[in-house]
Every structure is written in C-alpha cells, then in structure tokens.
C-alpha cells in the first residue's frame, strides 16, 4: 500500500543562521527533496538609491560602502568610475594605482569570506571560516593603514583617493601578500582534496552557460561555467589594460566550480597587486581642488560605469541635472541579479544542499536590498 504523502512548506529565515543576513525563503519539501522555493527579500532595504538623491557626489561614497559591506572598496570604485565618467574627470595616476591595489585586496577579502561561509554552510563548525577570516583581518589591517577604516572605508574620491598610503604600508603589503598566498595554499590543501567537500559540492546546482548568460549572471558564477567574461579583461577600466593576469575558468558550473574559481581568482588578485606595486609612480593621489572641487556639479547627462566586482558586474548608473547631487542613482547589484536563478538551482535538489547552493552564489544582503 502506498503511503499518502504531501509536500511540506517550511519558512526559512529571515532569522536563520545560514541566510547570510536577513533573507527569507518559503521552501516546499517532498521528504528531503525541494519542490518549490519562493525567495522573499527586502528585509535590509535602506533606500540607498533614494538617499543618494539628497547627498553630494562625495557624500554618496559613504552610502556605497554600506551596500555590499564585505567589498566596500569595490563599491567605491564602481561609483567613482561612474562619477568620473559623468563629470569628465581625469584621475591622477597614483590615485588610480592605489585604488586598484585597494580594490584587489578587497576582492581577495570577499572571496575569502565567500569560501569560509561556503564551508560553514557545508557544516564545518567554524574552523575553515575562522581560517579565512583570520586572513581577512590582515587585509582589513592594511585598509586601516591606508584610510583609517576597516570595513566602511570611503577611501576613494572622484579623481583618485583621499590620502596617500603611509610609508609603512608598502612593507606591510608585501608581507600581507605572502601571507595571503600561504593562507590560500593552506585552504586549498585542506578543502580541495577533502572528500566530503568534494562529494557535497560536485554536481550540485548545475546551471548551463546559456541559462546563465540569458539571466545576465556575471562574475565567478558565470566563469565557473566556462564563459570567459571578466570586465577587467573585456572592458578594462582604470589601468587594468596595463596588467596581465589569467582568467580562471571551470566548465562544471556546479558549487565546486564556483568555489574553485573564487580561490583561483584570489591568487590572481595577488599577482595583479604585485604588478601594481611595480608600476606605481609618485605624484598626487587626486587632482587639485581647483580641477575637481569638493562640491561637484557635473553637467546634465547620465553615465553608467561597471567594474568586475567580487560577485559579478557591479555597475552604477547616475543621472545628473547639473545640481550638486544626482537626479537619480541606480545600482546594478550583482548579488541581486545572481540570485535570480535561485529557483533553477534549488528545485529538484536536496534540502542539505539548499544553503550550500545559496552560499555558493556569494550574495550579500546589503547589496541585494540596498
């Protein structure tokens, strides 16, 4: 006799330990299998885009910090590029090199956090997470040296950065890069060869490259499916045209591939920073206030600038009506767009993989809800 069964609907979040913030999912289970998922977000909405309409162009930098709070420098960079485009500012070379170093450090930090939390979602009780966070602390210490803040940096300004790095920053950076490489080696040694990690992540939540492209997914998720799309290479911004680095691709497009691509990209970021250190030249870190006043009044018009953020294409669209604050600001939040395939990834999968897949998207609720 067949036992009559029916799917069970369970509410996960917003107060759930693994939702990477305040995310909510209404999940329908049939046993351990996921039948339906309804993502519900907006719990961290702070109206950043609306707030930007009331602030000057320099003040908005602080708002961008708080969007994706694990990669503030990258948010700063994307926003500043849009402002420079809009106002036609020629940045000072040293400032550009400094912000490239800062944003690549931030990319490493973000990828370390993503890897650590992936392992946390896999059920390792904090040890890999703390190993990753320990290295992130060193990066945050470096940020503290160059701008005095650790997470909400607000380091970048239109035309460059607001202050030069102190003398002791450069030897500390060299040491930090060596540490980062050894930490990544350590993480890879523990994780890539671990049978449990591999068996849990291989072949789960596979997405086809066509689907990813159609859903406009970018970043490590797209590169994990074998699509060679990296804005640093495709549409070089800042001085990425003068830098050589490998684009790391994987064909499997599963959770393991996403993890692998992130770890390898962190390695490549170290190489990029080393090249930046070689090529950096002395000079002012930002144009003088005669050229770029504190109170910017860009001409009426609009501009969109995008960078390769840690989670995908991070773009800022600014509309100016000639006043001191933008008429409209819109953020192409990579976390939010990467989340759109959540249903395709989860449905048909196992409950145990739900949060692993969710974590492998590497989303940040601050950026999703803004």
């Amino acid at each position: 006799m067949a036992i009559k069964t029916q799917p069970v609907t369970v509410n996960l979040g917003p107060q759930h330990p693994s939702t990477h913030g305040v995310f909510r999912m209404r999940v329908m289970f049939d046993g351990e299998e996921i039948v339906d998922v309804e993502p519900i977000f907006g719990y961290l909405h702070r109206g950043s885009e609306k707030l930007a309409e009331e602030r000057t162009y320099t003040q908005i930098v602080t708002l961008t910090d708080r969007m994706d709070y694990v990669s503030s420098m990258l948010n700063n960079q994307a926003y500043i590029l849009a402002v420079e485009k809009l106002a036609g500012i020629e940045p000072s070379p040293r400032g550009v090199w400094l912000r490239m170093i800062a944003s690549e450090l931030q990319r490493i930090a973000s990828h370390l956090v993503a890897t650590g939390f992936l392992l946390q979602d896999l059920g390792a009780l904090g040890t890999p997470l703390i190993y990753a966070m320990r290295e992130r602390e060193n990066i945050l210490d470096l940020f503290e040296m160059i701008c005095g803040a650790r997470i909400t940096n607000s380091y970048l300004r239109p035309g460059g950065v607001f202050m030069d790095a102190p003398e002791e920053f450069w030897p500390a950076l060299e040491r930090g890069l060596d540490d980062i490489v050894s930490t990544i080696d350590e993480l890879e040694e523990y994780l890539s060869g671990n049978e449990i990690v591999f068996s849990r992540t291989k072949g789960t939540a596979v997405l086809s490259p066509e689907l990813l492209i159609n859903a406009s997914i970018t970043g490590p998720m797209l590169r994990a499916s074998g699509v060679d799309w990296d804005l640093r290479h495709r549409a070089p911004y800042d001085y990425y045209g003068r830098i050589t680095f490998e684009r790391k691709l994987h064909t499997a497009s599963d959770n393991y591939a996403r993890y692998w691509v992130r770890v390898q990209e962190a390695r490549e970021s170290v190489k990029i920073i080393r090249q930046c250190i070689e090529q950096i030249e002395p000079g002012p870190v930002r144009p003088s206030f005669d050229d770029v006043p504190r109170l910017l009044r860009p001409p009426a018009g609009d501009a969109y600038a995008a960078i390769e953020g840690s989670k995908g294409e991070l773009g800022f669209y600014l509309v100016s009506d000639g006043g001191i604050s933008p008429y409209r600001m819109h953020v192409r939040a990579s976390s939010l767009i990467n989340l759109t395939l959540l249903r395709d990834m989860l449905i048909g999968g196992q409950f145990g993989d739900l949060f692993v897949t969710f974590g492998s998207v590497d989303l940040n609720m601050g950026e999703v809800d803004r």
Binding site: F29, G123, T127, R234, L249, D302
Partner: protein
C-alpha cells in the same frame, strides 16, 4: 546479598560499612556495621541510592568538564583562546552557562503536546545515563556487570532516537519533524553496522559481558579488530549525531532541528544528554577496543580508563572540528554500501580465525592482528574506491581558448556607456518602443 554484587568494590564498600555483621561481609574482614543486624535491606537501599547519586553526579560533573574542555579545544583548533574569563582558564564558564540556562523563561509552544513535550527531555537523559551502569570504570568499579552488557548498550543507546522523535512531534514544528525523520533514518541505517561490528569482538571474547571482554583483551581489540573499530567508531559517531553526521541538529540547515522549540532547562537537559552521549560513546569505545581499565602497575586502573577516555573524546572533538557535514543520502549510502560490507568481511575473517584458534592466547591474538590489518586496509581502500566521488572528466578549460567564448571581437573600450544627455536617452527609448 548476592555474591556478584560483593565482587563489585563500589557496592561492597558501601554495603559492608553499613551492614558489616552480615555473613558475606564478615568473611571479608569488615568490622561490625553501622546498622543493627537484620537491617540488610536498608543497607542495600542506601548503597543503591548512594551509587546512583555517585554515578549521576559524576557523569554530570564530567559533562561540565567536557563542555569546558571542548570549548577550549575548539578555541585551539580555530586559533583563538576559547573561554578564559570566568574562573581559572575559564573553567567556570559552563557553570555560569548552567545557571543562565536554568533562569531562562520556560516556553512551551501553544500548539505543542504538553505531556510529550515535557517527557522528551527525560526520555533522552535516562538512556544516556543508563549506559554508564554497565561500564567498568576500574577494577571492581561498576554498577552492574550484566552478562548481556553489549546487548544492553545497543538497546539503550537506540532509545535516544525515540526521544528525538517525541520532542520533534510534540513541538509541532516542521523543521523539527524533518530533523526527527533524519534521526530515524540514521538509527535504522547505523544500528546494523554498529551491532555487526561488535560480533567480531563477542566472538573473540566469547561473552557479551563487558568485564569478560576486558579480561579477554590481552591485546587491545583495536589492534586485533581494526575493521570493527573503524566501523564501530564511525557508526557510533552517527548514532549520537556528531559531525560529520550531525544531520539531526544541522545548525546551518535545520537550525538545531528538534531543539528548535525548547528553552530553559529542558533545552539544558538535551544539551547535557548530548555530551553524556559523547562521554558514554567514548567509554564504550574504551571498554570494547582499548582494553578498558587495563594498563601497567603501579598506575591505578581508574587512571588508565580516564586517560583512554580522554584520548577518544579528543578524537571525537577533532572530527567535529574539522569535517563538514555529509548529506542525508550520502550518509545512508555510506552505511549500507560501505560500513555494512566492511562488517561482513570482518565477521567472516574473524570466524575463520576463531575456527583456527578457538581459545586465542596472547601470541595468537597478535597473529590475528597481523592477518586483520592488511585485510582492513585493503577492504577500506576498496570501499573508498567504490563510494568515493570521481574527479571531473574534463580538466579546467584554457582561458585563451574557452568553451563558451563571448563575443570574439574586442569590445569597444567605451562599453562604459555614456549618453550625451538624458533627453537623448529618453528619445532613443521611446523610439525603441
């Protein structure tokens, strides 16, 4: 008073101090007892109550120390200090936690089945404590040496799952029920390899009594029966739902599962029972595989037992600290396709060896070990080949020659889009529509 009870030094010392006049005690040179003659029944009751109190409080004290030790070890594994504020080396942290837990509000969900909801903590604590009644902690230090000790342990430890199901069902919480279903799946799967792993030991010792099993371990059974140890240890980890099999609690998925709706001391009892299960599992492993309290003179037997217990506990904590969790289907596959086969291999090999040497002496035990180790290594390797995840067929693609190239031509550098003015952008939008 039965003679078997008087072999037990715990019983004898309490009973004979009270009732020294009785015939059995007098023959063992006890002076006259505190109680007058004819009151042996009272002496018996007092002795029983004293021993129960001693064991329960001893185990609870052990749990408090274990919680502290586990947290300190967690700290070390995670390159931090761990609790170090309250008391010397943070030793009073668990005491502070216990006090805090007791004074929390005792919430019961509105839809909960109150009777079962309150019964579940009792149901989980009782079997966790019962296991200790058959474990010999040292020479003559045990509550009872049952002749079916191993069977008793198997029966009692499986009761834990009943309590998990009761807790989950009575709290009327869907996440809790998912956790209970996983718990039952684990029990059904791992009880079998766990019991079959012990068959080899029972064959070697010729008895199910833990005392006899320790007596038979002239060579610790971990050396003679490596395969049985491997299977039993992993199955025991799964039975008490420790990492990497912590599917029932699964913090990152089920958010503590069946414990979801428990608060205050009811939660505290579950928490204590979890650690009691950890200690009892270590004690069982110590007794069955590490020759229990046996060691060299002049170090007392209790010390040997404690040292081995702590070593096993350390390994369990180490597992928990380093390994991620397996998925449900993988866990069940591991039990049925991996451990089950290994136990069958172990039983067949041990049976053949027992047929050759029916009453193994120490040197024959070493011979058995020499035969068992290669078999264990080969069979574990074979099972890992069978169950292991194969790596990717295709290597990572070349970035310069990717599988899905996007736009072969160079993208214009001005992909950073800038329109001349808003009005133009709007005009083009309207045109597009």
């Amino acid at each position: 008073m039965d003679q078997a009870f008087l072999d037990n030094s715990l019983w004898r010392n309490i009973y004979c101090v009270l009732a020294g006049d009785s015939a059995q005690c007098a023959s063992r040179e006890y002076s006259s007892g505190l109680l007058p003659g004819g009151m042996e029944w009272l002496a018996f009751l007092i002795a029983a109550a004293a021993i129960i109190g001693l064991f329960v409080n001893g185990v609870l004290g052990g749990v408090i120390v274990l919680i502290w030790g586990e947290r300190r070890l967690f700290g070390r594994f995670q390159s931090r200090t761990g609790p170090n504020r309250w008391g010397p080396f943070g030793m009073l942290t668990s005491v502070a936690d216990a006090i805090k837990t007791m004074f929390k509000e005792d919430l019961v969900p509105a839809e909960a089945d109150r009777i079962l909801f309150n019964l579940a903590p009792v149901l989980i604590a009782a079997p966790a404590l019962l296991v200790f009644s058959v474990i010999p902690f040292g020479i003559g230090t045990y509550v009872a040496d049952l002749n079916i000790g191993v069977l008793f342990i198997m029966a009692v430890t499986s009761l834990t799952t009943l309590s998990v199901l009761t807790a989950a069902w009575s709290s009327a919480n869907r996440i809790a029920i998912l956790s209970a279903l996983r718990s039952i799946a684990l029990l059904i799967s791992y009880e079998i390899p766990m019991a079959l792993a012990l068959v080899g030991i029972i064959m070697l010792a010729g008895s199910m009594s833990l005392g006899d099993i320790i007596a038979a371990q002239n060579v610790p059974f971990i050396i003679v029966q490596p395969l049985a140890f491997f299977v039993f240890f992993l199955a025991a980890m799964a039975e008490m739902a420790r990492a990497p099999f912590d599917l029932t609690e699964a913090e990152s998925e089920l958010a503590a599962g069946y414990l979801n709706d428990y608060a205050s001391m009811k939660f505290g009892i579950f928490f204590l029972a979890e650690f009691m299960a950890e200690i009892s599992t270590s004690a069982i492993v110590t007794t069955l595989f590490l020759s229990g309290w046996r060691g060299f003179d002049p170090i007392p037997s209790h010390f040997w037992f404690g040292a081995k217990l702590i070593a096993v506990l350390f390994v369990i904590i180490w597992f928990r600290m380093t390994l991620p969790r397996l998925r449900v289907d993988q866990v069940l596959k591991f039990a049925w396709k991996g451990l089950f086969e290994l136990t069958l291999i172990n039983i067949v090999v041990t049976a053949i060896l027992i047929a050759i040497w029916p009453q193994p002496t120490t040197s024959q035990l070493w011979m058995m070990a020499a035969i068992n180790w290669p078999i264990a290594i080969i069979s574990i390797w074979g099972v890992s080949k069978l169950l292991g995840t194969s790596s990717y067929d295709k290597p990572q693609p070349d970035a310069d020659n990717p599988e899905y190239p996007v736009g072969s031509e160079e993208i214009p550098a001005a992909s950073v889009y800038k329109a001349e003015s808003t009005s133009q952008a709007q005009a083009s939008n309207e045109g597009g529509d």
